[in-house]
Symmetry: C3
Subunit: 445 residues, 3 copies
Amino acid sequence: MNTTELAVLLESVGVGDEMYRLICELYPLCRSITGNGVRETLCAVGRHVPLEIHEIPTGQQVLDWTIPKEWNVRDAYIKNSKGEKIVDFANSNLHVVSYSVPIEKRMPLEELKRHLHTLPEHPDWVPFRASYYKENWGFCLSHNQLMTLGNDAYEVCIDSSLKPGFLTYGEYLVPGERADEVLISCHTCHPSLANDNLSGIALTTILAKYLSQAKLRFSYRFLYIPSTIGSISWLSLNESQISNVEHGLVIACVGDSGKLTYKKSRRGDAEVDKAVLHALKHSGQEYEVMDFSPYGYDERQFCSPGFNLPVGCFMRTPYGRYPEYHTSADNLDFVRPLCLADSLLQCLSALSILENNETYVNQNPKGEPQLGKRGLYRGYPNGGSDDLALLWVLNLSDGNHTLLDIAERASIAFGVVKKAADALFACDLLRKIPNDRCDYTHPRA
Amino acid sequence: MNTTELAVLLESVGVGDEMYRLICELYPLCRSITGNGVRETLCAVGRHVPLEIHEIPTGQQVLDWTIPKEWNVRDAYIKNSKGEKIVDFANSNLHVVSYSVPIEKRMPLEELKRHLHTLPEHPDWVPFRASYYKENWGFCLSHNQLMTLGNDAYEVCIDSSLKPGFLTYGEYLVPGERADEVLISCHTCHPSLANDNLSGIALTTILAKYLSQAKLRFSYRFLYIPSTIGSISWLSLNESQISNVEHGLVIACVGDSGKLTYKKSRRGDAEVDKAVLHALKHSGQEYEVMDFSPYGYDERQFCSPGFNLPVGCFMRTPYGRYPEYHTSADNLDFVRPLCLADSLLQCLSALSILENNETYVNQNPKGEPQLGKRGLYRGYPNGGSDDLALLWVLNLSDGNHTLLDIAERASIAFGVVKKAADALFACDLLRKIPNDRCDYTHPRA
Amino acid sequence: MNTTELAVLLESVGVGDEMYRLICELYPLCRSITGNGVRETLCAVGRHVPLEIHEIPTGQQVLDWTIPKEWNVRDAYIKNSKGEKIVDFANSNLHVVSYSVPIEKRMPLEELKRHLHTLPEHPDWVPFRASYYKENWGFCLSHNQLMTLGNDAYEVCIDSSLKPGFLTYGEYLVPGERADEVLISCHTCHPSLANDNLSGIALTTILAKYLSQAKLRFSYRFLYIPSTIGSISWLSLNESQISNVEHGLVIACVGDSGKLTYKKSRRGDAEVDKAVLHALKHSGQEYEVMDFSPYGYDERQFCSPGFNLPVGCFMRTPYGRYPEYHTSADNLDFVRPLCLADSLLQCLSALSILENNETYVNQNPKGEPQLGKRGLYRGYPNGGSDDLALLWVLNLSDGNHTLLDIAERASIAFGVVKKAADALFACDLLRKIPNDRCDYTHPRA
């Protein structure tokens, strides 16, 4: 796998369009942290990759949490006294506050208003709201519409169910040469929001599909889980195997046209952090780096101090930093095939570094070996950065530097350094350090 | 103790005025490194806090030094041939060079001039000069006055005594829960200089008075000592107990209207350094930080390599950086009640951090605990920095981070982090690490 | 040795002119990596310092390399069909590609052109080219001249020999108090190029001459070697004694009028790195610092991972960064006596730091000693940086800081700190740590 080959590959197969089509297919489904919308979503993903579906029963203890009741909604509306549906779940599943308990009641505007949510600062948009852990009900609508509502007796109906059932999540393992895993996680709990979270689902799915066809050093585990309770559940059920996680990324908000943003793992200097930052630095694009903070997506759970996994978060514009976040404006117009494809490409570029990052030892460490007699050195001015990469790999391959460390130190793209190392290895000028020593940057507890 | 409560408290009791009144009371006294001016100063302070007075006899060896003779001065003047007192100690005790030996002699201007000190660059001001360790005599006057002196036979009189006596200093210990001490030191050797050193004496005294009424974790030791020889003496006499000093501050120049300045301890990263810098960073004011240097006040001695105590220096404008320094312009107009009160407030704010800085261990380190069910989490958008503080404390309470470390990492004020920790501790989500492990940042030799 | 004394000394003896004259003397010689030009060069240097000449036979294995055949050239030219010499080695030895095999042949322009080298971007200059490790022949000429060549039958003659012989290098050891060595290396393989490499030869020679007359702590080993194969050879032949190298500098390009540039050793924080940077920082001039990279001069070999010697590279404008580099424009006009003298001075300034850098322990570490009674302290305002240096040396002489560390921490020139340490040592206030403990910054493997 190499970045340039991939870019060509991705363009030729229209992978941006493929991700966008999946987003369009999933957009109308009413997802929440449980329920049939999640099942339908995973079913659609399952047509691309063979997902294993897990169902955890309501009431099961997962770490400090308890699996909540399952929520489903069939219909919901507000009618005025003329019997006109003025707010209708059939038009947008954002209209119902997620996890609303069933209700059927006539009430004056004053009482109704306490259950209505709007965005005064964006009067045309409908907000997304949920009340997972506190029983309540409510509707979301545009502020402009709220302003038109007069005194009337409104008929409110939410035909939902909140009762014992299951929390549903999907998992897919692509085995590699090693049992050590790269964890790729996306969240599946938001309804019709295109960037947060459908873009993450789409990228994860197409990434999984491509990697399943590649020869891989690491095994890759893909998780499709509801935020927080989903990662808590997975961590709880898989606690004994968590030490297999060698690297990890949470994927979210990867379809908007903002610049790429990487939020580092709690460790801050994990190999995945270095690999993503190297890939972004050599992407030719602007990008942003955020230090870890315990607020955001499921990296919060993966990076809790008892696990402290090397998991970062890969995004374009981060949560809460774009006005469309958690509103009806995060719609199908807000994400773009080209941006999705670019996100996938840079993600693959970083994973490619992890796949190829080895530690070598120079077998001729005293003085430079004579590269010319081995046909490796083209010399001034033809050799350029290829020659330099050969010299850097030889100089720093003392057992204490990975190829990524060398690429960073030399300010040369990883791919060029890797090519140099391959050439030197082929001449027996390098010896590879076995993997168990190579893992020194993140020792297992 | 919390910063906001203190600010209100301080304003309501007029503590700035209280410090200013003490400065006014002490201003006329003729202090030096020994003598009755020091005794009268400590006596005045003793009306606020119960000082223990120490007298060390002339000739006693203290570390590499010897207690000098005691100096007192009753009168001093220069008369012209008409018998007019043209320079008179009765007008300002700055007129006599401190530690001047007695003299009574008539002399021409030429001879007299060798004993006169002025400030040509500030022709209206009278400098402060001393000659503690080399017997000499002299007068200080304004340069403008010097310019008016003609050829004449001048009668010079210094009615002083320099003979075996004592070095006098004051000490006050406010006991806390722990034997470990916070050392607060000010110097008492300068005559009528308001900022350097009366402001330090006043702040130390009012601080001592307030802390004596508070419930304290640490014990607080307040020192009123002459510069250099005083700290040398105290260190010499208390060498066996010096390992009790856990944190320390030298207080000087805290009444002028310049911005606050903190000079770090020799260690540079002592807990007191971090606490003061955190307090200043969150004070909403501009401030300055100086690295340690072996020039300045008694931190020179406390931070000598054989002691290397974690003692910084808390100032507004530092020694030598304001033109009024060591001149008659460092007078009662140069210091302000409001600035004194602000200095005290920020000092208390830093001490409050030291008092409350604990290390906790998250008792539910795997995944986040469900804060909602414990009523701790208010959620978006109500929770704000309180919610964030809860998450940061949980995430970093792995036994390797104090609350101050967490506050710094999270860029949240210590008080908010402390409040979060208290709430989590009340829910048994945190365990406190016993103090002896918490002291890891400055191990005892 | 102290910087100011040296500057005066250097000016008074016209040392810049002395170096420049040596450059002029060596300029016409046709050097390469082997051959009589090298021997004549070393012979000329030998008139200044007693060089030991080494000859290593062709075919001898040195590390991964093999000593090549010896190359010599007597004559070379291109004649047009009228018999006119249009390119003539007698005019400039740059006209012949170094290591050209013998040839005597008539050929059309088309064939000849494949062996001609020019610089289209500098049409008046003649490039320098070599083909040491691949048998070939060629001529270098100005691009303007190439443009004038018409179709003709050209007679090409290179009267050279490439056959078994020797690689020649020079070495000179100036013994000091200690067996530990400072390695000073310059390259001798370039023909008529004044800055690269004659300035390096000249500075090294005059430096050696001066140091041979000085009382030295370290021994100094001066190497005059061809690039790459020369350092490879020396390292190969001296492998068992290489651990004696305590510090080292490669000297090159020190005669141009650009600012001084220091390229750090691979270690990056070796004592020689700190010493040169301190000297440059206090030189009052602009200068540049480069991190180590495995491209450049013989520091590539000295800093290969199997040796990892603390050897940096001391230059003015670095290799490849001036357009005249490796062209006929790097001639006698390009280097200046004044720049050579300044390079020597700054180099001596750095070596003087290494010579005088000791670690002391304060014998009175508790509190400051009373400097006044020892006549060391002049006090405010007379003492200035001398007083400060005394206090810094006392404060940081805890066995963990060399004088250079102290000078850096205090931002005071090394010479002032050294003077303070000497004064304190004379009063028994300091104890010197024996050399074997002082060497902690670069432990021997």
